[in-house]
Amino acid sequence: MGTLAGGWLMGRSWIVAEGLAAGNDEDFLEAKKSTASFYLSQILPRAGALEAAVTAGSAPLTGARF
């Protein structure tokens, strides 16, 4: 959920930075957009992997012997 929520807010950041582009601190806004892009392509994919693990059922845990 955290990784996904992070993706949501980085997506929002990108949209807002794009909207503010004209006449504002362009270096800051460009950095914000590139960081958001990095998050979406390099970090957000973790959410899909976690979803697969979370929805795989409880058998791998309960079936293990120690």
Binding site: M1, G2, T3, L4, A5, G6, G7, W8, L9, M10, G11, R12, S13, W14, I15, E18, K32, T35, A36, S37, F38, Y39, L40, S41, Q42, I43, L44, P45, A47, G48, E51, A52, V54, T55, S58
Partner: protein, 418 residues
């Protein structure tokens, strides 16, 4: 001050020194407890001194056999004829339990009164000052408790973690008997958001240090550099990957923390009942996520920071190792991250019949569509975690809740992005 503004300041405290920041954080929690539940006399006597920092506050919950299971605690509180209580029992892991920086220390102690209900229901909250205030409010007689030992820990070495033996100490009841857990929970929710902020604060410090190091350390020849040239390590792709991972996580963490703090402020102060209720649910849902995700990522970031330093980070001279040690406590205390996961799945997802989570997921979906409309590639990435068959998540959530025997009927959230 709005929590949203406070959080920005607290983040800097935590970046500066996590161990020291815990003293002010616990004092703030004591202030919140007395503001909400203290008697007018207690507020008059203690609040000003706590707010100015002349006195500090602590939270005494944990006992040797009652950690995550707070309901197992056995410290006793016996009412005296004068209305005070005698507190007896051992408390452990008391952060800033003793020090000589302030004139007095206000220990807030959870204990049981005789004949109280078992488990968390029978617990009461007591105010146990180190020095009993005299008639003018000045620190007087030393209360009867002892600091038995100070723990040796992996990190936060600047924070004294005490074992306290209460030996018939004088305590003052806060609020009513057997309501202690309820009072504690009102504070714990804000404290959990604060602990999440530790991951951000320490992570930011670790990033700044790693970035500065990567800009001055020369090792090896980067791709495209002249033969014989020694490149700055920031030119190496894997170092850039680590720094960008740290930066991207930090910006997402900060956005989530501030979004939550914004909802905390709205849940308390918005003029509309409906808005207050909406934000109150949003805070309840996001709190375990903020606590667990920000602290786990804080550890990841501090670890990456050390990695950027290479061997220099593993020895003490750069300071990178301290961040890694310090932040390692945050996924553990204030409810372990496993406890946060239980809270999220069993209490927060079913909240308001599932409306709290479904409204958040709907909002996320709208952002993905909005982003896709201006940048198809990025919007596609944001949709991607939901590219599996749309019935996978509702089925998973539904069966998890059924297994946990939740009797509340709640609406399965609609598919998010479709």
């Amino acid at each position: 001050m709005p929590l949203l503004v406070g959080m920005c300041v607290h983040e800097m405290f935590k970046s500066a020194n996590l161990a020291m920041s815990l003293c002010t954080m616990l004092t703030q929690a004591s202030i919140d407890a007395l503001l909400e539940h203290g008697s007018p006399d207690q507020r008059a006597l203690y609040l000003e001194k706590l707010v100015t920092g002349e006195w500090s506050g602590t939270m005494c919950l944990t006992e040797p056999h009652a950690g995550s299971d707070v309901g197992a605690l056995t410290s006793k509180a016996v009412r005296q004829e004068d209305g005070t209580y005698r507190i007896t029992g051992q408390k452990i892991f008391i952060t800033w339990g003793d020090q000589d920086l302030t004139d007095n220390i206000v220990q807030l102690v959870l204990a049981r009164t005789p004949g109280s209900a078992p488990g968390t229901k029978g617990i009461s909250l007591f105010l146990v000052p180190k020095f009993l205030p005299d008639s003018s409010g000045a620190p007087g007689e030393r209360n009867s408790y002892e600091i038995v030992s100070i723990e040796h820990k992996l990190g936060i070495h600047g924070s004294p973690t005490c074992v306290i033996e209460f030996d018939g100490a004088t305590g003052y009841l806060v609020g009513e008997e057997q309501q202690g857990m309820r009072y504690m929970f009102t504070m714990m929710n804000t404290a959990r958001i604060e602990v999440g902020a530790e991951g951000l604060g320490v992570g930011e410090r670790a990033y700044q240090k790693a970035l500065a190091f990567a800009k001055e350390r020369q090792q090896g020849r980067a791709v495209g550099a002249e033969p014989g040239e020694s490149s700055l390590i920031i030119e190496h792709p894997d170092v850039r990957r680590m720094l960008l991972t740290m930066r991207a996580l930090l910006e997402a963490m900060r956005a989530l923390l501030y979004t939550t703090a914004f909802s905390v402020d709205n849940s308390r102060h918005h003029s509309s009942d409906e808005e207050r209720a909406f934000h109150s649910d949003r805070v309840a849902l996001l709190t375990p996520i903020v606590k667990a995700w920000l602290t786990d990522r804080g550890v990841e970031i501090a670890s990456l920071g050390m990695q950027v330093h290479g061997g220099m980070g593993y020895v003490e001279e750069t300071g990178a190792a301290q961040f890694y040690r310090d932040i390692r406590i945050s996924p553990i205390y204030e409810g372990t991250n496993g406890i946060q996961a239980i809270d999220l799945v069993l209490r927060k997802i079913p909240l308001s019949s599932g409306k709290a989570v479904s409204s958040l997921l709907t909002e996320m979906g709208r952002t993905a569509e909005e982003l896709a409309a201006i940048n198809q590639e990025l919007g596609g990435l944001l949709r991607a975690p939901r590219s599996r068959p749309v019935d996978a998540r509702p089925t998973g959530l539904h069966s998890a809740s059924t297994r946990a025997n939740i009797r509340t009927r709640w609406q399965v959230p609609p598919p998010i992005w479709s």
